[in-house]
């Protein structure tokens, strides 16, 4: 058996907040300047470490939202968990110019590479859309032509991350389709009543299994379990379904 190539050591780096954008009332995107960042693949994540004045430390993992461009920022979108200890600091307290510690990129499985020739089906639940957004952005940046479909399930229209940017990708990047599924409240005038994603949602708005798409599913465990089970039931090859779950405990 051939020995797989192993990446080098991941060191902690100082990251400076250069800009922040409120995505929704409870989610904030952080643009971080990280000197000598080695670059990353869409879908990878970073570890963030915070140290309190008395030396107390906490670490959490966050998906990277940005596609990598030379000299660019590392962008994280943080969903505030009200009982969390790290996310409320990042969404409510951290100011432009402040530094945090970060290391990565981490993960070589839940990633999309431009060299993958197949169509791509992205299924995101809530803040699970973040690593999928990195893939959408990478495709746009590379002007890649693999057909992409994103099924993005959110509670209400006010919970949509990247609300202004997603329609721009639909407009500017041929071959990218977006379907927004609302679970609690649909927008005014929407023909679809709110519901959780089901077989019909994925059958109607996904790719048929005959297209053999690479599928990426990310979100809370119940969303991922449901979506991945439906994909398998529809006939998608389990080996082409990659999943990433948010425990919801950070």
């Amino acid at each position: 058996m051939a020995r797989a190539a192993l990446p080098g050591r991941l060191t902690w780096r100082a990251a400076t907040l250069t800009e922040a954008r409120q995505e929704t009332p409870s989610a904030r995107t952080l643009m971080l300047d990280v000197p000598d960042w080695p670059g990353h693949l869409p879908g990878q994540h970073v570890d963030v470490r915070l140290t309190a004045p008395d030396g107390y430390r906490a670490q959490r993992s966050y998906s990277i939202a940005s596609a990598w461009a030379e000299g660019g920022n590392v962008e994280l979108t943080i969903q505030r968990l009200d009982d969390g200890e790290v996310s409320p600091y990042l969404t409510d307290v951290l100011e432009v110019g402040d530094q945090i510690e970060l290391r990565g990129p981490v993960g070589g499985w839940f990633v999309w590479r431009e060299t993958q020739p197949r169509p791509v089906l992205l299924l995101g639940g809530g803040s699970g859309v973040v690593p999928l957004m990195a893939m959408v952005r990478a495709r746009g940046l590379a002007k890649a032509r693999q057909p992409f479909r994103l099924i993005y399930s959110v509670r209400t229209p006010w919970d949509v991350l990247y609300r202004d940017e997603l329609p721009r990708h639909v407009r500017d990047n041929p071959g990218f389709d977006l379907y927004l599924n609302y679970t609690r409240k649909a927008p005014e005038g929407s023909p679809n009543a709110p519901k959780r994603i089901d077989v019909a949602t994925i059958n109607t708005h996904g790719w048929p299994p005959d297209f053999e798409p690479d599928c990426y599913v990310c979100g809370p465990t119940t969303f991922v379990e449901t979506a991945a089970d439906i994909l398998v039931a529809l006939g998608h090859d389990p080996k082409r379904i990659r999943t990433e779950r948010f425990g919801g405990t950070s």
Binding site: P7, S61, T221, T243, G247
Partner: protein, 199 residues
């Protein structure tokens, strides 16, 4: 590195003895896996030990659950930072499974339904340090938590406790498994915080 976050730390979690560095306590049981959850019917379940000579020893579900079992209570530590203390499992000790297996190998590869693999040194599986678990908290192990049966190696990060196990292969040399080839540590000691390659 001397980066201090003023205003951070006011909402810190209770300090708990028994937590490795960088971990926090959870009372939930989060799920982590790379793909869809496989559902393995018990009549198609089997577990096979393969020695480096190619010699094999297999158990079907009935034979496996008829082996002497142990009820163990252990702390588990996931590389994604959560730890869960005092989890209880019904399981078969790896010592029991390897009783009649002759091997000079130093390493093993754990294999799972669905193709997942993870590498573990053989000595980390012996002398009461590792089990194959098939009940959690008195209930049959649910598929999303690795049922019908999963590895249980509590002294290493929990990705080493592979779900849906179906085999153990003896290896003369260490080889990376699935997550290890994707950048995670070859050994994964939570007390040394060996999360990623090079840690």
């Amino acid at each position: 590195m001397g980066i201090i976050s003023r205003g951070f730390g006011g909402r810190r979690r209770e300090s708990v003895p028994g937590l490795p560095p960088g971990q926090y306590l959870t009372h939930d049981f989060p799920v982590l896996s790379a793909g869809p959850t496989p559902r393995i019917p018990l009549d198609r379940w089997s577990f096979t030990v393969t020695a480096e000579t190619g010699e094999r020893k297999s158990w079907n579900w009935q034979e496996f659950t008829a082996l002497p079992h142990e009820d163990v209570t252990v702390d588990i530590h996931c590389v994604t930072k959560w730890s869960k203390l005092g989890t209880t499992w019904r399981s078969v000790s790896i010592d029991t499974l390897l009783e009649d297996v002759e091997t000079a190998a130093d390493y093993t590869m754990v294999h799972s339904f669905g193709g997942y693999t993870t590498n573990v040194p053989l000595e980390d599986l012996l002398d009461g340090k590792a089990w194959i678990a098939y009940k959690f908290d008195g209930e049959d192990l649910e598929p999303e938590h690795g049922g019908p049966a999963r590895m249980l190696i509590p002294h290493l990060y929990f990705w080493k406790s592979a779900k849906w196990v179906n085999g153990l292969e003896m290896m003369a040399e260490d080889e990376p498994g699935f997550w290890e080839a994707a950048g995670y540590h070859m050994y994964g000691d939570p007390w040394l915080e060996q999360r990623y390659q090079g840690d």
